[in-house]
């Protein structure tokens, strides 16, 4: 555990330095060129803080970030997602406070995720993932109210608050299930008289993991965040979700050895989630009975992009969780690949929305697992594990 404090400390130190630079910058006049320079330096320090855990893991073997070697790959992609969120939101926001909030959110989320992927203790992992979820929602909720008469801005602000509150609520519920289940599994692991409690604990762990991973219907906040808060959406779905999937392998003790959770299968749960995500995507459309007031003709049906994207991301999370819960080597490998793919595709999806259709198509195809994109190999491995289980 102590070896992960070094890579986790780097983002925290960077956050501290960024706060100092922000404080100095805020004392400058708005037309002072040094103000802008200090902000850019703060951005560079933040980006360095996000890269540092990977560099430290490479340079100092004792400070390796992940418990498993495969976790380092997921961590690399997660840090890339965090850097993407940082630059995405930086370019979208011009106010000093908004930029500081996204910097702190990215750095704190990074620190918590590095710690979560670097420990074996189930309770610690669960609580660190909750802390990361809270940090990721910070920029959404800790924002000065707009006080605007613009209806669109009011709707956007309401959606961002709703998304943040929903995500916090689902993360808290999932964490409670995880911790309680982990306690039961640890207490009754070798107690043959209370096998029912052991199974109850295992069930709680699985349900908590599925809920934290954002498998449908445990992803109520996704569409709101994608619609109204692009940066936090990348943090939540591009960084926290892949980390939950990767951490699930450690929580379920799938890296080897005897475990009360190995062989316990609720893999049908994410399978149903995948089905529900597909149904949700079908329903993400405008009112089919809408009639134009001017012409009196039916309006061509248009789809709600945030709802579609949310369902697609939940679909991939469902596939990945199925791979984790299947317990097979192929399934776990496929899940890790899908986690890494999610961390790369979600920022691309968010950045390409409204700007580049080819990039949007690539991101969507990757999340759907279509060849030759990155999600194809992971989906294939999970499908093979499903066939083997069946």
């Amino acid at each position: 555990m102590s070896s992960t404090w070094l890579p986790a400390g780097a983002p925290l130190v960077a956050a501290l330095v960024a706060c100092v630079l922000w404080f100095v910058s805020s004392r400058r006049g708005s037309k002072d060129p040094l103000r802008e320079l200090l902000q850019v330096v703060a951005l560079a320090v933040s980006a360095l803080g996000l890269v540092a855990p990977l560099f430290l893991a490479w340079a100092i073997p004792a400070a390796r970030g992940g418990v498993l070697p495969a976790h380092d790959g997921v961590l690399l992609c997660v840090q890339a997602a965090l850097i993407s969120a940082l630059f995405l939101q930086w370019s979208a926001q011009s106010s000093l406070g908004a930029r500081l909030r996204i910097m702190l959110a990215c750095l704190l989320t990074s620190a918590f995720l590095v710690l979560a992927l670097g420990t074996n203790d189930r309770t610690h992992i669960s609580l660190l993932l909750l802390a990361a979820a809270l940090a990721a929602c910070g920029p959404v909720l800790v924002t000065p109210p707009l006080g605007s008469d613009d209806a669109d801005q009011e709707t956007s602000s309401a959606r961002s608050i709703t998304g943040g509150v929903k995500h916090i609520s689902s993360a808290t519920l999932g964490t409670c299930l995880l911790v309680i289940g982990a306690l039961l599994v640890a207490r009754y692991a070798v107690n043959l008289e209370n096998s029912g409690l052991q199974q109850l604990g295992a069930g709680l762990v699985v349900v908590g993991l599925v809920a934290r991973a954002g498998v449908w219907p445990f992803a109520p906040a996704s569409s709101d965040l994608l619609a109204a808060a692009a940066g936090p959406a990348v943090l939540v779905m591009g960084a926290v979700t892949p980390s939950v999937i990767a951490a699930g392998i450690v929580i379920l003790d799938l890296q080897g050895g005897a475990s009360p959770l190995r062989g316990y299968s609720l893999a049908w749960l994410p399978a149903i989630g995948v089905l529900l995500a597909g149904l949700r995507a079908l329903g993400a459309g405008a009112d089919r009975h809408a009639i134009s007031a001017q012409s009196g003709l039916p309006i061509p049906r248009s789809f709600s992009s945030p709802d579609l994207f949310a369902a697609t991301i939940a679909l991939q999370a469902g596939w990945a969780m199925f791979g984790v819960l299947s317990g097979s080597t192929e399934g776990v490998g496929g899940a890790l690949l899908l986690a890494a793919n999610t961390a790369i595709a979600v920022p691309l999806l968010v950045a390409a929305t409204g700007s580049s259709k080819p990039a949007l198509a690539v991101a969507a195809a990757s999340l759907l697992g279509l060849p030759p994109t990155g999600g194809f190999v992971g989906t294939l491995l999970v499908a093979r594990s499903a066939a083997a289980v069946g």
Binding site: L134, G138, L200
Partner: protein, 300 residues
């Protein structure tokens, strides 16, 4: 199993969380329940270092309840007109809800009270039952305390969490409190400082974020109710005017006085059928004349 004073505090605190409508009362109930949790921890942690668990728990309670309480109290003092940028409809609606409610009948108040009492009793009995059926670990008293805390949280979230922001915040916090109690009393070993720190950090972070949500709700909608937030999310205009039949008796008269926000009594105004300017307009069908008079009222 013996019900000591800490279990009773937890029970009363939980009942207050579910039953009390006022935000400040809910926070007092949270404090009472948290005191019961700290007392339960002090009773059942015998190992060395138990003082550390109690100290961290007490500090977390003070910070979380203090943060939420200070926020709620400050927001409670704000009067209409003191917050810039809020639409008049939201302030009018808030005043209408707070001061313009028609008095509930005795029968309605009794049925509400009865329903709440039944729910609380059912929750209490369920706690006993769950503690017998699912002995998660630790003593019977700590197990009962855990289930009562969990049930109070679940009931608060289910009954009020979708409408009341304060109750939602408190419900989530209480859920984490239950987890903290279970970790402290039913774990294989005593929780280490790292676990205690994480539990504390998560609860304080949650309280801080949800306190800020309360501020944003007040600043945006002048109410801590989620209804306006969800309406704004779906793009629905607040407090639009619509036709409605309100307390109308056969024959068209009001069954009781309807008081408008400015104190005036609403006058009964029968709607006249729409007259077409065209002289050859056909008369209204006979069925329409049998419809009771409609009254035009403002719908919240």
């Amino acid at each position: 199993m013996q019900l000591n004073v800490w279990i009773i505090l937890i029970a009363f605190g939980g009942a207050g969380l579910v039953a009390l409508p006022d935000s400040r009362g809910v926070l007092v109930a949270l404090l009472v329940q948290w005191a019961g949790i700290i007392g339960t921890l002090s009773s059942f942690i015998q190992e060395g270092g138990g003082w550390r668990i109690i100290a961290v728990e007490a500090l977390t309670a003070l910070v979380c309840v203090g943060l939420l309480g200070w926020t709620v109290q400050t927001l409670h003092k704000i009067k209409p007109g003191e917050v810039p940028g809020i639409a008049d409809e939201y302030e009018d609606g808030w005043q209408q809800e707070r001061f313009g409610q028609p008095g509930t009948t005795r029968q309605q108040a009794l049925s509400d009270l009865l329903l709440q009492t039944v729910i609380l009793l059912a929750g209490a009995v369920a706690g006993f039952g769950l503690a017998r059926i699912y002995p998660l670990g630790g003593s019977e008293e700590s197990l009962l305390a855990f289930y009562w805390i969990v049930l109070s949280s679940v009931l608060t979230l289910v009954l009020h969490g979708a409408r009341d922001a304060v109750k939602q915040a408190v419900g989530l916090l209480v859920l984490l409190n239950a987890v903290a109690l279970l970790v402290g009393t039913a774990g294989v070993r005593a929780p280490d400082p790292y676990t205690l720190g994480l539990l504390s950090l998560c609860r304080i972070g949650l309280a801080g974020l949800l306190s800020y949500v309360l501020v944003r709700l007040k600043a945006g909608f002048f109410d801590l109710d989620f209804g306006n937030l969800f309406d704004a999310r779906s793009g629905t205009a607040p407090y639009s005017t619509a036709l409605a039949l309100v307390n109308v008796e056969p024959g068209g008269s009001y069954s009781e006085e309807v008081t408008l926000p400015d104190g005036e009594v609403a006058e009964e105004q029968a709607l006249e059928p729409a007259h077409d300017s065209d002289q050859d307009a056909e008369p209204a069908p006979q069925e329409a004349q049998d419809v009771p008079d409609a009254r035009e009222v403002e719908v919240e």
